[in-house]
Structure formats: structure tokens, C-alpha cells
């Protein structure tokens, strides 16, 4: 059974302008309906497989993003949605923007666009889903992080 048949999402809005944010939400609504791919927007890192982040990273949400990422079980992939999440976008020169999501956690898929279109987000998710299977296989092969205690 493929793990990729049931990708559950965690969406966090970094320092976005809302544009990409609402497009992500729009993907779950009837016209785009990502549930066709088994996608469930869980809202809980501990249930999620895919971490969708919109917006860039600023000094306050840096820790939040890191923490949410650390609370997701393996295998997991990170999708940066929108130019802001890819590299800070139009705000990258702002004093409070550190850059794209990859400045704090590893990003697997970049979805460009300002705002990213729902179709593009779907493409991104589909690509991410394929990665999930690969990561699972790697995990089984023992390459993945073995159980470790964080305390």
C-alpha cells in the first residue's frame, strides 16, 4: 500500500500577504477539491504528512515553524507555497523577513506564483506525494531517523 494515497496536510501561514494562504484554502473547496487525492487538511502537525507553508519567515514565526515541523511524524515533506515562501518574495528586503522557508527547515517542493494558483498548488502536492513514498522506502531501509528521544 502506498503511503502517498493518503497525504494529510498541515497548513501554516508564515508571513504571507494572505494571497497564497486563501488559495491553499480554496484548494479544499468544491471547485478544486484536493480531497480527490485523499488530502485532508488536518490542522494538527502530529497527524500530518505534508507541511504546506505560505509566506516567508520572520523573526517571530521562525520558532513556530521549526516546532511544528519537529512535531510531524516521519516520513514528511515540506512544500513552500508562493514566492514569499520560496525566497521571501517582494518582502525579502524587509527588515523583519529572514527569507524563504528554507532558511529554517528543509524544503522539498517549491511552488512558485504570487499568488500561487490552485492548479499549481495541486501540482505541488502531487509532486510532494510522490516524495512521501520515496522517503518511506528510505525509512524502511533504515536510513531514516530512527527513534530518538528528544528531551
Amino acid at each position: 500500500m502506498n503511503i502517498s494515497k493518503s497525504p494529510w496536510l498541515l497548513h501554516y501561514d508564515g508571513s504571507s500577504c494572505n494571497g497564497c494562504d486563501i488559495e491553499v484554502l480554496a484548494c479544499t473547496t468544491p471547485v478544486y477539491d484536493v480531497e480527490r487525492f485523499g488530502v485532508v487538511n488536518t490542522g494538527n502537525p502530529k497527524h500530518a504528512d505534508i507541511f504546506l507553508i505560505t509566506g516567508g519567515i520572520n523573526s517571530q514565526n521562525r520558532e513556530v515553524v521549526k516546532q511544528l515541523y519537529s512535531q510531524m511524524p516521519d516520513p514528511k515533506v515540506v512544500v513552500a507555497v508562493g514566492i514569499c515562501a520560496c525566497d521571501g518574495g517582494i518582502f525579502k528586503e524587509c527588515y523583519n523577513i529572514l527569507g524563504g522557508v528554507d532558511t529554517v527547515i528543509p524544503v522539498d517542493i517549491y511552488v512558485p506564483g504570487c499568488a500561487a494558483k490552485p492548479e499549481s498548488i495541486i501540482d505541488g502536492v502531487v509532486k510532494a506525494v510522490a516524495l512521501l513514498d520515496k522517503k518511506r522506502a528510505a525509512m524502511k531501509a533504515g536510513k531514516a531517523p530512527v527513534a530518538q528521544k528528544e528531551d
Binding site: 471547485v31 478544486y32 525566497d87 517542493i109 512558485p112 504570487c114 499549481s120 495541486i122 516524495l131
Partner: protein
């Protein structure tokens, strides 16, 4: 007691075709104005660098010496300012958007040397 106001819509939805666009099985046709990605008709470009100066995100680099024009697609916000400012009107905005990828690549257009062409 009105409790079932939504029942009509609900049942109507059940028995009619879902509103879902079956993307990606059925590709989407975009309106012509859709701002998807910037394209350069590189043969017309004179490498003046104006677009690169105007671009709010610094997505464009122009190398006059190498006659190359490159764009960081994962930085471009499709604002169209470059298109509007290009004196040669060689830039245009096309509906198709850049595909998601796992690397933030740069796309470079290089003009073939004109004399080569004549040769």
C-alpha cells in the same frame, strides 16, 4: 423551527454534477490575461537591463556582454512591471505558470550571435 434550511441545497448538490474541475486529469484553459510567467523574445532583446532594474524582486539578471537574459522563476511575482517597462516590447506575460520543483532554478535565454546567423 427552521432547522433544515440547507437541506435543499444539500440534496441538490448530491444529485447534480459536482463543481469540481478535474485538474490535472483535464487540463485547465486560462483566460488570456492570466499572468503566469514572463517570456522573452530573446532575439529582439537589446540587453538594456531596464527590466532588471525595475523588477521589484530582482528576479531578472541581464548580462550584456554574454548576451544573456536570465530570470529566477522562483523569485518572480508576475507583477508585469518588467513587461510594462521593456522599451523593445520583447517581454510578455503568458498564462502558463512555472511548474513546482524541488530546486529553485534560474532560466537563461541567450541570444545566438547575429553574425553566426548570417554565416
Amino acid at each position: 423551527m427552521k432547522l433544515l434550511t440547507f437541506a435543499k441545497t444539500e440534496l441538490h448538490n448530491l444529485f447534480s454534477k459536482p463543481a469540481t474541475r478535474l485538474y490535472p486529469q483535464e487540463p485547465r484553459v486560462y483566460p488570456e490575461r492570466t499572468r503566469g510567467h514572463v517570456e522573452n523574445d530573446i532575439d529582439v532583446c537589446v540587453f538594456c537591463g531596464l527590466c532588471s532594474k525595475k523588477c521589484p524582486t530582482g528576479a531578472i539578471t541581464v548580462d550584456r556582454a554574454a548576451k544573456s537574459w536570465s530570470i529566477k522563476r522562483f523569485s518572480c511575482i508576475q507583477c508585469g512591471y518588467c513587461v510594462a517597462s521593456c522599451p523593445k516590447k520583447c517581454l510578455c506575460m503568458r498564462p502558463a505558470y512555472t511548474q513546482p520543483a524541488s530546486e529553485k532554478g534560474t532560466e537563461t535565454f541567450t541570444q545566438e550571435p547575429k553574425d553566426d546567423q548570417s554565416a
